[in-house]
């Protein structure tokens, strides 16, 4: 598995290209943008882009989808049946998608948005905006924050310490680090912060 991370200045989001050198196929997670750099990585490695996975339908994670689908005949997977006007294969918690020689496990982690998904490929967890390094995703209410934290603890942070976290924004982390050093998972965090957010993306 080869992972290429691209930092998009549109929404300061991470785009991930996951390639399989054995099959020559690749998938993209959260196409925040499609530019020459991402295209160059796909073409330089000779990948056939087969699939696009969307962690949640917020504009700064899907804006590049239209351009990507003009160039490549890729299947789109998301929680919703449609993203940015394109039909998707709807995903549910526990689904396993076999594509590009990978098994992509799907975890539903609502809270930041109702359609938030986390994808696991081998030991790499693509957490979108549900979980960032040291923080959990922003929510509109303390109830959502508690729901998100509970769901993360039960479904994501119960995995192996060494599994890596590749979030929708910011630096990477590991499950072990997030279990120990994430302020969003501390008791009382949701009540302290949710009503004071001044910006929501």
């Amino acid at each position: 598995m080869k992972i290429y991370q691209h930092y998009s200045l549109y929404g300061f989001s991470n785009v991930y290209l996951v390639g399989n050198d054995q099959t020559g196929e690749a998938l993209v997670i959260d196409p925040a943008e499609m530019n020459a750099s991402i295209l160059g990585h796909i073409e330089k490695n000779g990948y056939d882009l087969k699939a696009v996975f969307v962690t949640h339908n917020h504009p700064h994670h899907v804006r590049g989808l239209k351009t990507m689908l003009k160039i490549y005949d890729a299947s789109v997977y998301a929680a919703n049946a449609q993203v940015a006007g394109f039909p998707c294969t709807p995903l549910r918690d526990g689904d396993v998608i076999e594509t590009c020689g990978f098994s992509v496990e799907v975890y539903s982690v609502p809270g930041h948005s109702p359609d938030s998904l986390v994808f696991r490929i081998d030991g790499a967890l693509f957490t979108g905006d549900a979980l960032h390094a040291g923080l959990i995703g922003k929510t509109l209410s303390s109830y959502n924050a508690l729901t998100l934290a509970d769901r993360l603890k039960a479904r994501i942070l119960d995995q192996a310490d060494e599994f890596i976290i590749l979030p929708g924004h910011g630096p990477p982390s590991t499950v072990g680090t997030e279990r120990r050093y994430n302020v969003g998972l501390e008791p009382g965090y949701a009540e302290r912060t949710s009503s004071r957010y001044d910006f929501f993306v």
């Binding site: 598995m1 080869k2 992972i3 991370q5 930092y7 300061f12 081998d122 030991g123 790499a124 905006d129 960032h132 390094a133 040291g134 923080l135 995703g137 922003k138 192996a160 310490d161 060494e162 599994f163 890596i164 929708g168 924004h169 910011g170 630096p171 990477p172 982390s173 590991t174 072990g176 680090t177 997030e178 120990r180 050093y181 994430n182 302020v183 965090y189 302290r192 912060t193 004071r196 957010y197 001044d198 910006f199 993306v201």
Partner: protein, 199 residues
Amino acid sequence: MHSFKRCAKSGCSSLCFQDSETCLAHHPDPAAAMAAVQALMAQEKGCKDLSASGAAFEGLDFTRRKYIGCSFVGASFRNVLFTGCTFLLCFFDRASFEACDFSGSNVQFGSFGGASIGNVSFESSELIHCNFDGARINESTFNGSNLYDSRFILGDVRSCDLENCDLKRVYFIPAKEAEVSFKGSNTMETIQDLEHLYI
């Protein structure tokens, strides 16, 4: 990317060491395994996808090497030179560093979560999208570095210099902080409290 295969020893949940079916602790010849990893790291071109969790390095010079997609989780580094090195998508979570030199390095999208960092120089480096959450950092310098979009959350930062640094979009919310100098750095562009999160 490094391997996520688990150690074949029953009851052990650690990751396999490089080119091995077990972790370093259960390796039949740990000295030979370590020597092989050191040889890979010392190659002039550097290396990719290395699995070196739990390894111990001392008194080595890896100056100007390039490492991509490597795991050094729980490793220890003592008197090791990484001067001018490039690290892309490398993981140093829970690693310990003592008297090491990363000056002039280019570390992008790296994780040092929960690491113990003492007497280490990161001077004049690109430390972009790096995770120092939970790290205990003592007597170390980041002077003249670009720390764009990096994070220091719930860590313990003491007697450290972050002078003349670019701290744009840096989350600096350590649990403990003492004698940290930000002279000449753009601290106004950091996020230092939970009321102003931008993600």
